[in-house]
């Protein structure tokens, strides 16, 4: 390996590295503004100057390829002087408004000015002022602060795939803007706030809310989509003030989507913080004992062995296992989590997982999307597809209605019938797909939420099994679930064949005949009309659709208020942390089921969270290793089924508001109006 000398220290580096990367290997920290690992190199801030032996002047280390035998100094007087010069130029036009700037306290420029800035200015001319630009409901701009690093422009062009931001003019007149100040139309737009090294782009909903040192920072995971992105939640008291991404190369890289970041104001609206019992069609506040005893009476009256439990979008594995054992104790196995009617092959965990892992998308050179809009279903996953499209010229084929994806794709058909074409290798795309080295199939729930669902899975497995990269260790068949709870619930067997094929219809039938007690675990996605004759116990944290029609409401904590376990779409075990105490009287669901089990003599033996987790691991070994996923590759359910005509309709109609938290969020409502409905901002 080639070697480079940095501050008299010899280090080996890989070919293709830049001087800056080599310096980092040697442990020398280089200040920078424009350079960012995940973006292309611009080299325009000049802050990363270092001295290279035999070079007449300092070099920009971010843009200089490291060479064998180079001698670099990162801390010499020349370097210090050069960086001081750069900093003085940067500060010439930068306003002195740190006391009123939202970036204050976590600002790259502020920090680096401490090391390289002068204590007074030698500049006597007028500072320039730049008009603020409108960029939409999420990003607030104070453009005078901009230092023209162009990170935001490179992010939106390269990662988000929307050519919305640009740098107009040059020199003194340079300014960052969107074309005619249009809204940034990307679901990843919030990331430009993190990327901005100064306070030019800041968060609009978080404006003037808090200072970074006042916040309690908790490392946890997101639950608003199936990816389970790593995030940091910043709270003050019982209020979540902001969400920032953490680096996790396996799932979200460095990005999170706008819903994850901005739907948090929904966590303090419409919250269920008390127990409610319905009396004469009106929900009245009650206490836990009364409510639980009423549930006990109803269970005995209506027949406890008929009880149904249905889980929603945010149900954690602890809740699933507790409610499952509770129902088993009652003598019922009518539990399910597939409220969107997505079909699975029973006892085959490859039929509902993202088997290839999210990271593998980067290596793909052909991807077949079946009834999936990854841009809305898993935005950070979609940015990986875009990465493959850019780096490997990945060809994407779509079976389903037209989509607005940020890469070009080949449309195969509107209906599932296109799968027959792939099987028979007739069309242009199917030839490309079968000849590719690393093809992947991604099936969205919109393709399998019908009675044909199981056949679609079987056929796709059959196609996957014949792909060149299929092996006993690599499985190119992927199912893209939209909810964080789904894979974990299915892993734990929280599913019943009774609800196959037509979920809503089966429930409707059952309710009509049995009039059972139904536990809804935060489930708002089914029609309350179908539940009218049942006794509905809603356990959840938001007063959404089904809570209003419930007979009893039991409040539970939201994802930022409890530590719980989930499995993301890949089957990767993630654990969220409690960022602040639950609101009001909310109790963790497993505690509720534990008390109910005493009342009903069901013999649940756990007494604390560790006991519940022991149940969890005993029940399914895949929960043992946090942040790992053990995926198999058998595809034993593969069979060349024939698919009949079935037109696909994507099941997400509004990315910004498709769960109870984001439906309660004002920010998300603004996004819906301005970005989706194109209403002008007031």
């Amino acid at each position: 390996m080639p070697t480079i000398t940095i501050d008299n220290k010899k280090v080996e580096f890989e070919n293709g590295m830049t001087v800056m990367q080599a310096c980092e290997l040697a442990g020398a920290e280089i200040p920078r503004f424009c350079y960012h690992e995940k973006l292309s190199i611009a080299g325009n801030c000049r802050m990363c100057l270092v001295e290279m032996e035999k070079a007449p002047k300092p070099i920009a280390s971010c843009a200089m390829p490291a060479g064998d035998g180079m001698v670099i100094k990162t801390n010499s007087d020349t370097v210090q002087k050069a960086r001081k010069g750069v900093m003085e130029f940067l500060l010439i036009n930068h306003p002195l408004d740190c006391p009123i700037c939202d970036q204050g306290g976590e600002c790259d420029l502020q920090d680096q000015a401490l090391h390289y800035g002068f204590d007074k200015s030698r500049y006597e001319e007028n500072k320039r002022a730049v008009k603020n630009k409108h960029m939409g409901p999420l990003v607030s701009t104070i453009m005078t602060r901009c230092i023209h690093c162009t990170r935001c422009v490179r992010f939106s062009t390269e990662v988000a795939g929307v050519d919305d931001l640009g740098l107009l003019g040059r020199g003194e007149n340079a300014e960052i803007t969107t074309y005619l100040e249009k809204t940034i139309e990307s679901e990843l737009s919030g990331n430009v706030i993190d990327l901005c090294p100064v306070g030019a782009l800041t968060s609009k909903p978080y404006a003037f809310k808090s200072r970074p040192w006042e916040l309690t920072k908790t490392e946890t995971h997101d639950v608003l989509d199936g990816v389970g992105s790593s995030i940091r939640v910043d709270t003050r008291g019982k209020q979540v003030l902001r969400v920032l991404p953490r680096i996790n190369e396996d799932t979200n890289e460095e990005w999170i989507n706008d819903k994850t970041r901005f739907a948090i104001d929904g966590l303090s609206r419409q919250r269920l913080d008390k127990v409610y019992i319905k009396n004469e069609n009106k929900l009245n506040v009650a206490d836990w004992d009364t409510a639980l005893n009423k549930i006990k009476d109803e269970l005995n009256k209506r027949g406890k062995e008929k009880t149904i439990t249905l889980s929603g979008k945010f149900t954690d594995a602890e809740t699933i296992i507790a409610s499952k054992f509770f129902l088993d104790g009652l003598g019922s196995n009518l539990y399910d989590c597939r409220f969107d009617n997505a079909q699975i092959i029973h006892n085959e965990n490859e039929s509902y997982k993202f088997n290839s892992s999210i990271h593998e998308i980067e290596n793909a050179d052909a991807i077949l999307l079946v009834g999936s809009n990854p841009r809305w279903e898993a935005s950070v996953l979609n940015s990986r597809i875009r990465k493959a499209y850019i780096n490997n010229n990945c060809k994407v084929g779509v079976i389903g209605p037209d989509l607005d994806l940020n890469y070009s794709y080949t449309k195969i058909s509107n209906s599932l019938i296109g799968l027959n074409d792939i099987k028979e290798k007739k069309s242009e795309f199917s030839k490309i797909f079968h000849n590719a080295k690393n093809p992947l199939i991604i099936i969205g729930t919109s393709a399998i939420n019908n009675s044909e669902g199981a056949s679609v899975l079987k056929l796709c497995a059959d196609i996957a099994k014949k792909l060149p990269n299929y092996s006993s260790t690599f499985n190119p068949l992927n199912i893209l679930n939209q909810d964080i709870s789904r894979v974990g619930s299915l892993e734990l067997g929280f599913v019943n064949k009774y609800f196959d094929k037509n979920f809503e219809e089966n429930i409707k039938e059952n309710v009509k005949i049995n009039k059972p007690v139904i536990f809804l675990l935060g489930l708002d996605e089914i029609d309350p009309k179908n539940l009218e004759q049942a006794f509905v116990v809603y356990i959840g944290h938001h007063g959404d659709l089904n809570a209003q029609h419930a007979d009893i409401i039991l409040p539970s904590p939201a994802y930022t208020e409890k530590t719980s376990t989930f499995m993301n779409i890949e089957g990767r075990v993630i654990q969220t942390s409690r960022c602040h105490n639950p609101l009001g009287e909310a109790k963790e669901e497993w505690k509720i089921f534990r008390v109910l089990s005493d009342l009903m003599n069901c013999d649940l033996k756990f007494n604390n969270l560790n006991d519940v987790r022991k149940y969890l691991v005993d029940n399914n070994k895949n929960f043992l290793q946090i942040l790992e996923c053990n995926n198999t590759s058998n595809l034993s359910f593969a069979s060349p089924e024939a698919i009949t005509e079935h037109t696909i309709a994507y099941n997400i109609t509004n990315f910004y508001m498709n769960d109870s938290i984001s439906r309660s969020s004002e920010t998300m409502a603004n996004c819906t109006n301005e970005i989706l409905n194109k209403e002008k901002a007031s």
């Binding site: 640009g166 003019g169 005619l180």
Partner: protein
């Protein structure tokens, strides 16, 4: 320094629509052909120039959007190019776009006087268009004809070795649509010494 090519604005003056004229439409495909496959976007500068010539010397919002659509580029990418180069005017200009060089050699040789003459004849301020729409007068930095200083550029042509008198005549002739002589106004061949070969 006010200059229609040095602004980041983009707008339409009325509801004009910009479409390539038939001639220019053919030239567009000629120009694009010069660039290798999948590199057609490199034609953005010649196309912006063509659009500016067709659109009375400036690029309106619709003209920029037309160029973007012709090359399948996003609007902001084309606007970045149009705002970067001062040769692309983003505000309407008069029939004669007069750029007076004011960098040191021309300034020493009397460019200030030329500016004064231009203001008088056009009856307008620097950076503005005269009411009869005949002139837009701007001052610019070096145009690279220093040995024949002072000089101005009017539309595509250079006028060199100027003084108040001959410059006034040029402007008045332009105002009255008379023909004028380009280049050196004292008969100098390119940048030869003033007195011929005896220097």
């Amino acid at each position: 320094m006010k200059h229609p090519g040095m602004t980041n604005k983009v707008y339409n003056i009325s509801n004009d629509v910009f479409n390539w004229s038939e001639d220019n439409f053919n030239r567009v495909s000629e120009i694009i052909k010069k660039y290798p496959n999948s590199r057609q976007q490199s034609a953005v500068i010649p196309l912006l120039d063509l659009a500016q010539r067709q659109n009375a010397g400036w690029l309106s919002k619709t003209a920029i959007e037309k160029v973007a659509e012709t090359l399948s580029m996003s609007y902001i990418r084309v606007l970045e190019v149009a705002t970067f180069y001062s040769m692309f005017n983003l505000e309407p200009v008069g029939e004669n776009f007069v750029q007076i060089c004011r960098t040191t050699p021309c300034w020493l040789r009397g460019s200030d006087k030329l500016t004064k003459v231009a203001k008088e004849v056009s009856n307008s301020k620097l950076g503005e268009t005269s009411t009869d729409n005949k002139f837009t007068i701007v001052e610019v930095e070096c145009l690279g004809a220093c040995c024949n200083a002072p000089m101005v550029q009017i539309n595509d042509d250079y006028f060199e070795d100027l003084d108040e008198e001959n410059f006034r005549k040029i402007l008045i002739d332009l105002k009255n649509n008379k023909s004028i002589n380009k280049g050196s106004q004292i008969g100098r061949q390119t940048s030869h010494p003033k007195r011929g070969n005896d220097a």
